[in-house]
Symmetry: C2
Amino acid sequence: MLSRSNARLVHALKQRKTRETQGLFLAEGVRVAEELAASDIDLEFALVSTTLGDTPRGHTLQSVLSKRTAVHVLRDDELKAAAATENAQGVLAVARVPRHTLDSLAVPAPARVLICDGVQDPGNLGTLIRSADAFAFHAVLLLPGSVDAWNPKVVRAAAGSSFHLPIVTGTFEQLPSWLRAQEFYTLGAAADGVPFERSQVRARTSLVVGNEGAGLRAETQALVDRSVRIDMPGPAESLNVGVAAGILMYLLTHGDT
Amino acid sequence: MLSRSNARLVHALKQRKTRETQGLFLAEGVRVAEELAASDIDLEFALVSTTLGDTPRGHTLQSVLSKRTAVHVLRDDELKAAAATENAQGVLAVARVPRHTLDSLAVPAPARVLICDGVQDPGNLGTLIRSADAFAFHAVLLLPGSVDAWNPKVVRAAAGSSFHLPIVTGTFEQLPSWLRAQEFYTLGAAADGVPFERSQVRARTSLVVGNEGAGLRAETQALVDRSVRIDMPGPAESLNVGVAAGILMYLLTHGDT
């Protein structure tokens, strides 16, 4: 059973405004909920469907969640109706957004940071966060105009990586001075850049990727020390932003520091 | 104006069954329609919104389409209602599915082929087709259980690459003997594979990627000469299938032949 006020909260958290005022977000899907339960992020409550426990994996998840927060059991159709993503797999958690600021970021000596400039598609941003995590990046920074990192579809596409590394929203005022103060060398992914080479990688390197259609905005271009592109021998004009960033992050991590 | 029968056809082409029986598909979005108009694929007709011509790019597209096929002009809201994808950008074309078979594929001496095993998400398959095109792969082969390559969302995510290279649906009976006859060396992307190295690339190399959740099925595993993985130093358990395949295709293209 779900109280009316909790039902209202879950519904309202589909809106960015509510997430921002409440400081809460929705996490849906088995893998995401597993990673959330294993993180130190505060949980408010969880909803599970009556059938989640039918599989050993779901059963374990439900018991792990129960140790951390109040778990409300709903019928499959009720959970489906409450969920914000298409296939919530019988589990939804309400949790507190981890707050990080540029000033509080601990930056190790060799460091990699991904900067997203106006990425609009939730699936793309989630994939970017997941890849940044896979390649041991230290943070994901969002510039204004990006989709909210705590949008349920972003969290779902990030497959739990949202809980592994700091995600910080910066402004065009803060970010340039922070990058300079932290001695980052900034590469910008751009179709008219020079082909990526390992020699472009410094101990602290940040990578900026832009909007799906428009690429880097003028303000963002000002952050960039060097524009790089991925050599593409085929006829396609460009790559999906998540794929392009994934390849560059792979190369940055496997290049020389 | 759009005749009732054309309106019915557009609606029906959102269903895989209709696409298969009619041999037609929907192409939506400015970039996709531009690439379609520039291809040798047969067009049945196109729908454009009254506002498409308001931009120079839209104006050019409309005139290019008009030289190739009948173009029906609709109100913005009518076009939106007809479209299968979320943001059709004022243009939708009905076109004939290009038919390729394994037997008719021309395979050059050094060749790269992508094989998709049960990829379910339209956005992922479209991204895979786009990346294969970007890295000059010669064909994309689909195994049974994959989303239809001519699903409007796949076509949209492929950003025109669907018209650049052959897309062939094969069976578990045909594919192994075809790969052997064509002397392909087949790499399978798998979390438990060996780290990818350039020495694994042969003149004719194919890459198999699996379903988002389950990975390669047993039947598919039988095609694989060597399982490879992408070295990931970070905590994420896995990459998005489109990103993983994008990195491997990049490495395959930039490795030694």
